[in-house]
Structure formats: structure tokens, C-alpha cells
Amino acid sequence: MSHAHDNHAHDHHDDHHEHHHKDTFITKYIFSIDHKMIAKQYLLTGIFMGIIGVGMSLLFRLQLAWPEQSFKVFSFFLGEKMAPEGVMTNEAYLSLITIHGTIMVFFVLTAALSGTFSNLLIPLQLGARDMASGFLNMISYWLFFLSSVIMVISLFVESGPASAGWTIYPPLSALPQAIAGSGLGMTLWLVSMAVFIAASLMGSLNYIVTVINLRTKGMTMTRMPLTIWAFFITAVIGVISFPVLLSAALLLIMDRSFGTSFFLSDIYLAGEVLNYQGGSPVLFEHLFWFLGHPEVYIILLPALGITSEVIATNARKPIFGYRAMIMSILAIAFLSTIVWGHHMFVSGMNPFLGSVFTFTTLLIAIPSAVKAFNYITTLWKGNLQLNPAMLFSIGLVSTFITGGLTGIILGDSTLDINVHDTYFVVAHFHLVMGISALYGMFAGIYHWYPKMFGRMLNKNLGYVHFWVTAVCAYGVFFPMHFIGMAGLPRRYYTNTNFPLFDDLQDVNVIITVFALVGGVFQLVFIYNFFSSIFYGKKTVQNPWRSNTLEWTAPIEHIHGNWPGEIPEVHRWPYDYSKPGHDEDFVPQNVPMKPGEEVLHH
């Protein structure tokens, strides 16, 4: 970006920009190439998709608690075909869990979380005028939007949306004879994902290039906030692993539409032998999880990055072990690409591979433990400002520990034999990546809302939102471990069809009640979010008294972020409560005092 911005530029209101940028409504709000606007677009699309995804989970939780009962909501949302007389059909159930998983994993926690905060924060915290390529960034968002539209359209096709589980294992996902959802619904799913991957790659490449090339003067790699480190490494993992999913999706499309046999072999279905020979579904599993596992960290690392920043700011303390945090991000990123086989211990692959993957998987617990301990130590002897963002960050550390610990069981091939694909797994990954990443996203929204919209979110609504969500999240997923350990397989339409699991039914009811309450209380957030855009309290420039560069930019959004010169960086971002300073924070652009000591970084 140019240095053409004069000091007076930001004094003008939104609608007075014409004299140096010809901003029409379309270029400003729709096909914008400004990273701040694109971040907001990602966030709004993500919230919309999140409402669909969470709403679906509430519907199937109703079915699980009161199986095959008639509900008016089912008739209303699913219609007569998927819920005749208000009773959800088993195929509709499978569709709902499939699309819930897909939307939450990819559209909300990958695109909306990374997309929003990478776009917003990378240029602002690095002191850059914009992303390396604003145009690519715009294309990235619109491809993501297109893939969202295709995914939503797939919900309305006649044969039903994809229903082979979000992991879309063939042959089930490849053969419409096997399940109705594998017809047009699956085709749209695959097309949507292919477009999504293109969007994700463009975004990731942009983030990487920006971080490497556009850091302002003085912003060395070891002076970058941990948010940027997390976004940067996340983008690297994305670039490495998403293309593998793309190839898996393409091969699956060929198997489905052109009669190839990459993943299919020796199939007898609906009274006839199909022509496939020599393919292997296990190959698909390898390809899928080669993305699928790093995907967990693509989701989680940005949340951890956001948390690092929010905890340090609100604890008024430097993040403990800055270098150890970077090292653990790097270690997690590296290990995450060599542990995918732990999803496949009982897939029929050579058991020796199982041993190798057990080893690498349990190793990943070490950097994760380091991160958790560092967060806890950061709180120690702090001066904690318990803003909603801070509470969500503490909540994240809590669910990250609870969910992460059960990973020790699932990562151990011997123990995985009996809990693989049960509700124990569902409880584990929802806590460790689902809820944790959502908390990270909420923390980010509460923390950077003033930066995005120039207004504050209502803190009391924020507190209500956090506490109810925190209680309900544990209420939902803690008991779920126990029904999983009792052997109840996931993706069962009902567990009361045969008597073995009858005694788990009351647990299912409790889980659903917590889920409903938690789900309904998200409306508090939605209300707070949208009403504050218009009626929120106007923010001051640096409401959280934070060190990072985004708070040195004016509240009013301008192209290029800073009027005049971009700030120069003189110190790391965690000089909170540093002895020898009057204030308890020293922004990165404040020069070192003569003789000031550089402490531990």
C-alpha cells in the first residue's frame, strides 16, 4: 500500500473518502480489498453458518433424548419428508450430524475463526498497511462465501444432504445406493469443499507472505505477538495439508462420477456386483486424516494464539515462557502432521503402524502440557481484569485441559480399541477442539470488537453469555464420556432400539437439556453482537490498555490502517507491569528507555 494517506484522512467520515479512494458501496462493503472489512465479512458469514450448525445439533439432541418422538420444531425445520408427522427419520438424523460436523469444523472454526482474526490482526499487529495481496484476500473470502452457499443449497436437494458423516468415508459416501444422501447432496458437498479448500489456500498463502514480508521496522520474528505466531503456523499447516484433502475429494468425485476405483473394491450392493476393483477405503482414510488431524490444530492454534494475547493483556503480566510458547506451537505443528493414523488404529491398517502412531500421538501431549502450564503461570500473581474475553480465555484453558487429558486414552492404541467411535470420542474432541476453539473465537470477538466496530460489547450480557455457556458445555460433554465408556457407538439414531443401552437414556436427557439451555443462551451473544454494532458504547482507542500495534491505529477504519508513518517497533509485546514504567503497559512502539533492560526474550 502507498503512503498516500495524509494525517487529515482519518478525520473524515465514512462517506467522505471519495477524494483519494473511489469507494462506492460495492467496493467498500462487498468486494472490498481492505483486510478489516474482509475480516468482518468472514465473521458475519461464520456467525450465520454457526447458527445453522449449532441449530442442527439442538435438533438431533432432541431426537437422542426423546427418540422417535414427534416435535413441532422438526416439522417446521425439516419438513414432512425428513420428519413425517414431526418424527425425525434416521436418514435425516445422519444428514444433520454430517452437516453439523462439516459446518462447525470447516465453515465456523476454520474459516470464520482463522479468516476473521488472521485478516484483522496480521496487518494490524505487524504494522502493515494491508495484506500482501488485497485482491487475493478478496477472492479468498468470496470463494469461501461461494462454498458456504453451495453447502447451504445442498441442504435442500431432493435426495437429502450428505449423510455419510463429516469424514465422508467411501464406499458409503460414494454410492447413492448405499444411502440417499450420497447422491446430489454428496456431490454438492464435495464441490463446496473443493471451493472451500481453494479459498483456504489463498488465505493461508496470503497470511504467510504477509508475516514474512510486511513486518514493520523493528518487528523481528521474536517480537511478534503470539497471535501472529499462531496464525502464521496455522497457515503453514493449512498449506501443507489442505491440498491432500483436495486430492482425496477429487479422487472421490472420480470414483463417484467416472467409474474409477481409487477407494472402491469388491462391492455387492442392492443385488448386484459393482464393477469396482482394486481400490481401498483405507487409502481414503489416510488421505482424509492427513488433513483431518492437522485440521484439529488449524482450528485450535488460532484460538490458543488469541488466548495468549488476551490472557497476557488482562493479567497485566507478560505471557509466561514466550519462547517456550513459540517452540510448542512449532512442535505441535510438526507433530500434528505425523499423528493422523491414530484415527485409524482399528481401520485394518498394519498394527505396526498403530504402534508408531501411538508413539507420535502421545508425544504431542508434551507441548500441549507446556502451553497449559504456561497459561496457568501467567495468571499467577497477575492483576486479572476479568473481562468477558478473559473469562472465555480461562474457560478455554479449562476445557483444553479436560478434553486434552482424555486424548491420552484415545491416543493409546490399546485403549482406543474399545472406545474408538463411541461417545467418548465425541466428548473428547468437542471439549478439546470444539468448545475450546469456540471459546477462543468468543474471546477474540469480545476483545477485538472495539477494533472491528468502534464500539464496545455490553459486558454484563457477556458475563451471562460466558457463565451459562461454561456451565452448559461441561454439562453436555462431561457426562458424555461415561456413556461412551459404556460402549455406546456414536452416530446411532437411537440407543433404545435394543435393551443393552437402555440405562444410558437418562444421561442423554440431561445432556440434551444442557445443550438446549446452552444453545438458547447463544442468543444473548447474537443480540449483544448485533445491537452493539449500532448502540454499543463508543470505544476509546486502547480500551484494554494493550501493547500490540493494532491499538495504536485510529478507531476510525482507514485504508492503510495508520495515517502518516506506520509505527516502528522497539520492544516485544508483553511488557506489562514492567518495573520502571509509570503505566502497567508499554506499547510496542514506545522506545526503550536509556539503560532499560531487555528481560528474558
Binding site: L172, L175, D266, G321, P351, L384, T402, L405, Y463, M485
Partner: protein
């Protein structure tokens, strides 16, 4: 009834929301002028206490779940020999997890409460300590090394089957959309070759009937196992992925179309012994209590009551396989070796069943076209037909 409940829940929710907002508003009394939406000392105090309370909530929900649902998990009374090792490792890991969980959550939430912000309080500038980092990377590393070692030892023990030396009983388990079938290898303990391309008529598993090893194979729709003998399951699927899951035996393996997977274990309890274990009698009694209550309701609605439940081992499908995935099981019976042999002896061999079926079919056809000429020659002809059947493919 349900709509009433839903309505009630919604009303209570809105009341709760209203009250909660009020509480938080009340904490602001006397500070109306300070409307920055940034946490002040009072917010820090309230939420600090709530964090401490939340620690209590985590402990309570843990205790509640263990007391009420602690009996559900399958962590003891496994019905297979290797199950004991699995359970032991599970217990060790679980206890470890609970200790770490209890301590770390306590530290996290207690610090949140203890160091809640107050005006004038100054945080300690403490940014790094290599010794601490070393301690908390090496302790998990050591503990995990032990777990990995133990886990891998058991894993190798379970997964690697030496069929030549151990001579386990070979049984094929065959999965298809929403049904399990078993095939016993017969006296020679070798399964005949099979492929889905050979499926025809009642030979639903596609067994190669010309294969000498297939001549004594027996197909059943119930799985019987002898107690104390190692069994190796050869697992096939004809259509999509399924998963062979027997939670009580700590056994699971996916069924993959196009390849044969395997899992081996030794049953250590017969079905009736399992029914008599303390855990199982309690579990079944509890399930029957639930079913009785349900039956009462059903009878009141004019429907038939549920049968009382008697425990049986089940083989479940544990990989999403289609619309009726939730309803794909097979009964598994573990019995003494003598009973097992007796049961198996009474079963007809597949080849024999196919012969009879083809004979019946041909006879029926002949009877249709030429009712007068039914004689023994036609039956003789059938046997050749059977032999030719597979080669036709």
C-alpha cells in the same frame, strides 16, 4: 406434554436470563457514571468468586457423574483374556488423568480468583523460567513414556496373532448393510476362498464352492464361541465400511470391502457366567426397572409391554454404514467347548445347503415344465450344476 415441557423450559430460561442480567446490573449500582464496558474492581470481584465457584461446579459434576454413571463404563468384568490388560491400563490412565485434572483445574481457577484485579494491585513481571519449563516438559514426557511402553506392549500382544503356533479357531464375520453373518471354517479350520462376485442364491457370502477348503464351511446367523479357546475373526464387508465391535470383549476392527481384516481374542466367560457377575446382575436389574416403567406407560397407551431383558453379548456395528446403522447387531453366545462343538455339529454345511436349494429349485422348475418326469436323474444333474456354479462367474 412435550410442547408443554418445552414451553416451561423456555419460560424458566427467560426468567433465569432476566435474573442473571439483573444480578450483574445490581453489581453496578452506584457506578452508573462508569459505563466503559470494561471490567472494574467490582466485576473482577464477582467473576473471581464465580471462577472459584466454577471450580466447585467442575468437581461436583465429576463427582455426580462418577456416583451416578460410574457403573456404566466398561472398565471391569471384561469377558476376554486380553480385556484384563486393557482394563488395567485404562484404570492407570484414568487415575492419572483425574489427578492431573483435579490439580490443574484447581490452580487455574484458584489463581483466577486469588489474583482478581484490584485498583492499585501490581502484577509481578515474571516472564520466563527455564527450570520450570524443563520440569513441566520432562514430567509429562516421563509419565507418557511409561504409558506408551505399557500400551504398545499390550497392543502388540493383542494385534499380532501367530496362527501357525497358536492354532486359533478361524471364524469369518461378514458384514453387509444392516446384517452380520458368520462362517465357521469347519473341521479343517481353513476357510474356503470367497469373493462378492461369487454371490448367488443362498450362497450370500460368495464362497467359492469349488475350493476344497470350502467343503466343510458352515454359515450361521448367530455367533457361538467356546470359552477359553483363542478365536481369530477374519472380517469382510460386502458393501460399505462397518466396524466389528464387541465392547464386552474389548474387541473392535473395521470391516473393509475389498480386504480381509482380523482380530483375535480368547473369551474368558461364558454367557451365563457373565450374566451372573455382580456388575452385570446390577446392570440388568437396573435396565429391567427402566423397561418396566416404560412398559407401564406403553400398556396405559394400549400398546404391548416390553419383554424383560436378559443379557447377551452383542456384536455391534460401530462405523456409520447407512440409515439403519443403529440397528445392526448379532447375538454372540459364549459356551463351554462341549456345548460349542455340539451346536456346530448340528449345523448344515454350506455346500450341503446349496445343493439342497439348487435341487429344490431344479425340481420345482422341472415340475413346472414337465410335471410327469421327476426322477432321480434330475437330482444327479444338480450336483454337477453346483460344481459348475462358481466357474460360471
Amino acid at each position: 406434554m412435550t410442547s408443554l415441557l418445552v414451553l416451561l423450559v423456555l419460560v424458566l430460561l427467560s426468567v433465569a436470563l432476566w435474573q442473571l442480567t439483573k444480578i450483574f446490573d445490581l453489581t453496578q449500582v452506584g457506578k452508573q457514571s462508569d459505563n466503559t464496558q470494561i471490567a472494574d474492581d467490582n466485576d473482577n470481584k464477582v467473576n473471581g468468586y464465580l471462577l472459584f465457584g466454577f471450580l466447585g461446579f467442575i468437581y461436583l459434576i465429576t463427582i455426580f457423574c462418577i456416583v451416578n454413571y460410574g457403573g456404566l463404563p466398561l472398565m471391569s468384568n471384561s469377558a476376554s483374556v486380553h480385556g484384563k490388560d486393557v482394563d488395567q491400563l485404562m484404570w492407570i490412565s484414568m487415575i492419572l488423568i483425574f489427578i492431573v485434572q483435579t490439580i490443574t483445574q484447581a490452580l487455574l481457577h484458584y489463581f483466577g480468583f486469588k489474583y482478581r484485579g484490584r485498583t492499585g494491585q501490581v502484577a509481578t513481571y515474571f516472564s520466563d523460567n527455564n527450570k520450570l519449563e524443563f520440569i513441566w516438559s520432562s514430567i509429562p514426557a516421563l509419565v507418557l513414556a511409561v504409558l506408551i511402553f505399557f500400551g504398545l506392549y499390550s497392543w502388540t500382544d493383542i494385534m499380532f496373532v501367530n496362527e501357525k503356533e497358536e492354532k486359533p479357531i478361524v471364524i469369518e464375520v461378514y458384514a453387509q448393510q444392516f446384517k452380520w453373518t458368520a462362517r465357521y471354517a469347519g473341521d479343517d479350520n481353513v476357510l474356503g476362498k470367497a469373493n462378492v462376485r461369487l454371490i448367488e442364491g443362498i450362497n450370500t457370502l460368495g464362497v467359492d464352492l469349488a475350493d476344497p477348503n470350502a467343503q466343510d464351511d458352515i454359515v450361521t446367523d448367530e455367533l457361538h464361541l467356546p470359552k477359553g479357546k483363542k478365536v481369530v475373526f477374519k472380517i469382510r464387508s460386502q458393501d460399505v465400511l462397518h466396524s466389528f465391535y464387541m465392547p464386552h470383549f474389548r474387541a473392535q476392527m473395521n470391516c473393509v470391502p475389498g480386504m480381509v481384516t482380523q482380530f483375535a481374542f480368547t473369551p474368558s466367560l461364558t454367557t451365563s457366567e457373565m450374566r451372573d457377575t455382580k456388575e452385570m446382575t446390577e446392570k440388568v436389574a437396573n435396565i429391567n426397572k427402566i423397561r418396566e416403567a416404560k412398559s407401564k406407560q406403553l400398556v396405559a397407551e394400549g400398546k404391548t409391554a416390553l419383554d424383560p431383558y436378559q443379557f447377551d453379548f452383542l456384536l455391534l456395528c460401530n462405523k456409520i454404514c447407512g440409515s439403519s446403522h443403529y440397528n445392526m447387531q448379532m447375538k454372540v453366545v459364549v459356551e463351554s467347548e462341549a456345548d460349542y462343538n455340539k451346536w456346530l455339529k448340528e449345523k448344515t454345511k454350506l455346500v450341503q445347503s446349496v445343493k439342497t436349494a439348487v435341487a429344490e429349485e431344479v425340481a420345482a422348475k422341472l415340475a413346472e415344465s414337465n410335471p410327469a418326469k421327476i426322477d432321480t436323474t434330475s437330482v444327479k444333474k444338480d450336483t454337477t450344476l453346483v460344481a459348475e456354479a462358481p466357474t460360471k462367474q
